[in-house]
Structure formats: C-alpha cells, structure tokens
Amino acid sequence: MPEHLLLRCRDIPDLRQLDVYLQHGGYAATRKALTTCKPEQLVEMVKASNLRGRGGAGFPTGMKWSFLPKQSEKPVYLAVNADESEPGTFKDREIIEDDPHQLLEGIIISSYAIRCHTAYIYIRGEFARGARVLEEAITQARAKGLLGRNILGTGFDLEVWVHRGAGAYICGEETGLIESLEGKRGYPRIKPPFPATHGLFGCPTIVNNVETLACVPHIVLRGADWFRSIGPEKSPGPKLFCVSGHVVRPGTYELPMGTPLREIIYTHAGGIPGGRKLKGVIPGGASMPVFTPEEIDVPMDMDSVQKAGSFLGSAGIMVMDDSVCMVWALMVLERFFHHESCGQCTPCREGTGWLHRVLVGLEEGQASPRDVDLLLHIAGNMLGTTICALSDAAAMPARAFVTKYRAEFEQHAALGRCPLRSDEPARAHG
C-alpha cells in the first residue's frame, strides 16, 4: 500500500483544484465506472471488496446498497454523511477540505451504482470552510461535465447538493440526518422501515460516510481483490485513524486496517509526551469503551477491536496519560451526551442527564459510595433500549470507565473529592 491513498492531498499541493486533481489521474475511476461497468457490477465489486462503513457502525457497504428495492417507482437518494460529530474524530474533514473531488468521485460512482440522480452532502454546520470547498468543487465539476446532465457523455445524470447541519451530534445518526435533511427536528426514526426502502422524503435512500465513499474510486481503479488484500480480509482497506490527546504527534494517520493500536500510539503518533505513562485510550470516538494500557495490542480493525470488548467506531483514538482523572474524563464525555441526546427516548433523555449529574457529584465531592454502582445501574438500563445508538454510546463508556477504573471512582466517593487535584477544581485538568 502506498503511503497515502485517501490522504493524497498531503503529497500533492492544491489537489482540491479540479485541474490539479485531473493532472493526477482524477476522475479516471469515474470514467471507468460509468463507461465500462453496469450499476449492478459496481455493487458486486464493492460487495467483493468487503468495504465496511467508516462512519462508526462498520456495516458492509455493498450489502447496504443491495437492500435497495430492485423495482421502485420512487427516486433513490444518496445522503452523504459528512456530519463528523463524534468527539475525537476529524478524518472526513481533511478529505472534504483538501480533496473534495475524491469524495465527489465516490459520490458519482456510488450514485451510478445505486441508480441515484440526486445526492445530498449533509455537512456539519461548523464545517463552514468544508462546505465552501465542496460548493466550489461541485461548480468546477459541473463546468467540466462531471456533474449534472449526461455526465461524461454517458447519459448518466446526477445533481449533488450541499446541506449544512445546524449543530447536532444526533444528525450524524443516519435517520436523524434524514429527518434534518427534510427540514425537521433531528430525531432518529424507528426502524423498520429502514432507509433503504423508506428514507429521504419516503424514498429509497442510502446513507454513506465520507471516508467510505472516498474508498470507492480506489476500489474501481485497483479492484476488489486489491482492497481486500489490505489488512484483515473481513474488514480491509486503508483507514484514517484520528489520534488525539496525550501523544507527541496528534493528527490523522492513514494506515492499513488492522494496524495495532500500540503501533499507532507509540510509532506513528510518537508516544506519550513528558515521560508520563499511558492510563487509558478510547479507540473509536467518545462513545466506545475505553482500553487500559494492558489492552492496546489489539489490531485496529472492526472485528478485532470488537473482540477485545470495544469498537473501532469512527477510529477516533483518544489517548489519556496518568495525569488524567478518569472520573473527570467520563464526566466530560457524559456532559457531551447529556447535551446531545435528542430527548426522544425516555432512557437516553433521562439517563444521559442522570449519569452526568452523578459524575459531577463524584467529581465535586457530593456523592455517596452507592453512586459508583448507581452509574453501572443507570448505564445498564440505558443499553439496548432506545431507537438509536446514542443511549448505548453514553452507557458503554460509563460502564467501561467504572468497571476498569473502579478504584478511582470509589476513591472519589470515599474521599469526597477528586484525589488528583490539590485545591484546584477538577475541571482545571482540561
């Protein structure tokens, strides 16, 4: 695998400009797909590549596409999930801002494969620059006949629209995204029905993540076998890992799927600065269970991380050294979920706030020893009981933190204060 596929923008200046992109082989994949492949062949190719969704759930992309109804009088929509709102995740942003045509190629080829003629890029509102870059890229591509009517003379039509979100984590959930795109409050939908049959405006809809779609042109150019050969066969491909927290070189790293977590932290990101020790690492964005230093030899692919008790999620790797109070860290996470719960399902609406308040009590010395078990109890009642995964996303880290760092939680309760702070408030750690 060459050093950069998805992040070629790091090697080629101004790759976001269409002429530069074309000079470096741009839209060859689109041409190949639209002129030599039938849509169903592309679906089969993506299926054969074992490409799995990069947004967090890791669902096989080709299989998702094949859930679309074979015969439908309604239009098919592609909704591109560019909401990138999982804390600790900043991979899609780089693709969007520095290599938008790679994404557009992925959108065009995928739309062709699923017989879609209108695609929406739902981009998080804070990505104002990304939205501008995408609009420019779309304008450039349109001018060159790469978007719009009769793309590359093949008779295939596609319009792509950029829709900016308004600041809600929940709109990264695919049905919350669809509701928001329809102009409604971002409430995840009950399933069934699934978006593949009843999605945007009640029509068959595929929601794919930015990085997922960016993989598609490479699969078309180099083949499914090539893609499958990178990393473990069941969850292969190039992968963007976002490393943040207490490392020497935080940032996004493009590495083969299955690269060990230890290697990512210590080799690529340069290890823990200041001679401190690793205390814990969240492997897949804020919602995924934390790993202790003993657990970081796990290969970073979907199946391996799941086997180790967490999830690859969005591959947002958050590294915490031994200066971090784990009660405080969990409190910060739960403050986020409390703030972002859409409020629709009872367990999540009430549970996220309850978790947060109990943690504030522990951290600020207003808790009882019973509160440690109470956290586990609340989390247990939140797991698997709601419409979408946000409740699980809040409950899983709570359970992992309390279970794996229980002594620290009990110490907080017993001392009536945070043991890691002298007289400063706990929040000063951050």
Partner: protein, 512 residues
Amino acid sequence: MPTVEIDRRRIEVEDGTTVIRAAERLGIEIPHYCWHPGLSIAGNCRMCLVEIEKMPKLQIACNTRVTDGMVVHTTSEKTRTAQRAVLEFLLINHPIDCPVCDQAGECKLQEYYMDYDRQRSRVPLPAKVRKQKAKPIGPLVILDQERCVLCSRCVRFLDEVTHTSELAFYQRGDHVDLDLAPGRTLDNPYSGNVVDICPVGALTNRDFRFRARVWYLERTESVCGACANGCNIEIYHREGTIFRFQPRENDAVNQYWMCDAGRMSYRDLQGEVRLTQPLVRGAEEFAPATWESALGAVAARLREGGAGIVVSAHAPNEEVYLLRRIGAAVGARVAGISWSPPGAFHDDFLVKADKNPNTQGLRLQGLAPDGGVDELLAAADLRTLVLHRADLATWRGAGAALERVPYLVVLDTDLRETAEYANVVLPIGTYAESDGTFTNHAGRVQLLRPAVKPPGEARPGWEALGALLAALGAEPRFDSAEAVFAGLAAECPPLAGMSYDTLGTLGQPAAG
C-alpha cells in the same frame, strides 16, 4: 395469517398486526405512553419494551409486527426490568405533585408506577430539572411542562389529525420542553382532544380542572347532541351534575375524537333557565301546575281538533314517534323542523353544519327537516299548536304568528322565548337525562343513556309524551323508551330489526 404466542397464549392474527395489538386481542395490556391507535407510531417512550424469543434485544411492542411462531413474554424478568427502568427514568425529573395535579386518578404515571415500579426515588428533589408550570396555551388547555413525559401524542395529533401543528418540542435531552410554536395559540376546533390523549398531567382541561376528582365521577356512555355527526361520548357526572364530555371510540363516527364545541356543550344541558315544573297560564302569568292537570288540559284541548304539532330535530326518535302517534290520535298535522344558526362553523372532519342531532331521524319517519311549519302556522283552522323542542320565536322570528295561535303548548328543557307565548309549558329532560336514540347525518342510529335525572318535576321527553298519549286514551301504553323504540322499529322499515340491544354501544346504520 401468523400465529403468535404471548404469555403462553396463542392467537392467530392478520399479517402486519403489531405485538401490542395482538396482545390487546388476548386481553393482555402492554403498558405504553406514546402509542395511540389513532396516531402514527412514535416508539419513543420505550414503556412497551417486551422480550421476544430469538431476538437479542427487547423490542417495542408498538412497532414490532407479529411473525409466525413468534414467542413474546410481557411479564418475564427481562421485560419487568425494562418497565421498571423506564418508569424510574420517567420519574427522576417528574415533580411528583400528584396532590395538586388534576390528572390524579387517570394518570398513567400513577397507574404504571403502582403496577410495575414501586421503588423509592434515587434522585434528590433539588437535582430535578425544572420547567414551566401552569402555562395556559389555549382557551381550553393548560400546560405543565414538568409533568410532560414527551410522548408526542399531542404533537402528533396536531400534526396528523388537525394539521395545525401548534405544539412542538424545543431544546434537547432532559431539557426538552413541550411548547407552543412561536406566535401560536392552541385554539383549533379540536384542541380539547390533546387533554384526553395526554397520558399524564401535562395537558389538562381549563374548564374541568379542579372541579372534581375523577374517582368521584360516574361515567355514562352516550352521544353528543351538538351537531348531526353524533360523536360517541362518555358523560362524566356526579350527583346530578355533568362535569365533562369525553369522546368514546367509534371508528364509524368519530374515531377517538370530538370537537371543542361538542365537548363544551355539556354546559348547555344544565343552564340556569331549566324548566322544573309544568306551567299553565292563568289570566296573565304562568302558574305552576301538576303534570296531571296540565296534561289533562292539553289532552282536552287536542281532542277539540284543529291541532298542529311541530317537532324539532333535537327530539330523539322516540319522541318523534310518540308525537306522530299523538298526531294520528287527534288528527293533527305534524311538521318537522331542523334549524341551525346561519353561518355556523363546520368542516370536513367531524363538525357538521347541521347543528341538530336527529335531522336524519326526522327524515326516516317521513318528516322533512323543514316541512310545512309555515303552512301549519298560517292555517286558518289552527286552534292548538304543540311545539316540541322547537323555539320558533328565536329560530324563525315567529313571535307574531305564535301570538295569534289560540292555544300554544310548549314542551322544552329550558325557558326560551317561545314559551312566552305558551298557554301550557311542559318541562322535559335533555338527551342526557333520558333513554333514547339519535340518527346521525349518515343514518347511524345511536343510543342515548340517561346520565342524570331531569331537574325538579321535569320528565324525560318520551315519558311526558307517553303520558299525553295515555291521557288521550290511545293505546298502547309505553312504559319505557325502549318499548317506544320497539314500536317505531316495527313500523319504520329503515329501522327494521333494531332494538336497544342490537344498537349496543356503537349504534347501527339504518337500512337504505
């Protein structure tokens, strides 16, 4: 057709039936807040989570369709744990102000807490999220945001049934508020329904609130008389006083709903001008009389001939029938009248322009809704006129004509303008005070049941007319409204085969 097993009992149901519906068919109630049969499925309250074999997670019964061989457990430990958990979550920020909450006694939080939860709170009171209380949001409805369980029933009703969307959710997480959309008021003609479907004390009725604890009230199934639609209702009453109307499910008529005008029309039934005793005019003024003497005087007069009878479409079928019998006994002409205020509100949902509950009933007995009243009034040989629930002075400005009528008999519930011209006034009960039937605009015959007694010496209409018929010496004697209806059904082909038993609680369509 799939067969499902729920709590070890099996039932075969139609394809597409949900678990909650299948359980209902078996008489098993799966607790729920957000699900309502008249609204779309929201699936947000999570109270109906049940254990289904071979499924890794609990499933919501409201949105899970039955498949053949499915095995559901609604009382297993897993299901019970989830129910307790949801109730605990619902209550952590609930104000628990039942003593001052008007919903107490018909609150699903109270009921399910007792049925499924019964654990002590683990949240200190000061930690609760506070929201706005006692906020009037419309003429009929008041909102307590703290009590709201955010089930979205009201929001969905206003989106899907009235299409007016006055209410919505604002903010996120446990700070979500139910509130009016900016600049809006909940004042659509069906606003009161949101109170009925609110499972808790978040939306209460400003008219009913604090007037009675519901557990003291009795309920009587009846039909609203405010227009020709005939929405099925329950009359809530206590010791002779009606406190409220609520809609009663009838898919063929009103589904689960009723309009605000109908809901508030209970007040018209217990006005301050109710007639409480027979009145006979002396030289100038009315004087109270006994029923016996008043009916005797009327019967004597009717026997003299030259009588006319006007019956309005407010009269139940039984009264129309008895008036026709009286007319036949004394050779009187009988005319019907169905009067509605000009320009009265109506729509294409429940509210009809015809504000009479029994216009179709008149028709089925051969009386046109405005057939010959003027001719009858103008007839030179008119000696005696009987007006039954017909306020012609108000409706037709017929005061001058009534002045000329030599002898006027008025049967009515209230002292209205027409009675000023009367020689005899006979006090009768409202439709909420009597057995009877109305036939709605679509020809559906529906049963009325007495919720309260007529005030003072007033009698149910059928009883007063039955007594008059008896005073005229006519046969047969009717000892109940049911017997009157039987007589009518035997003579009136569209009602053939009907009886109070066959009408039941949902009524029956008339033939033809």
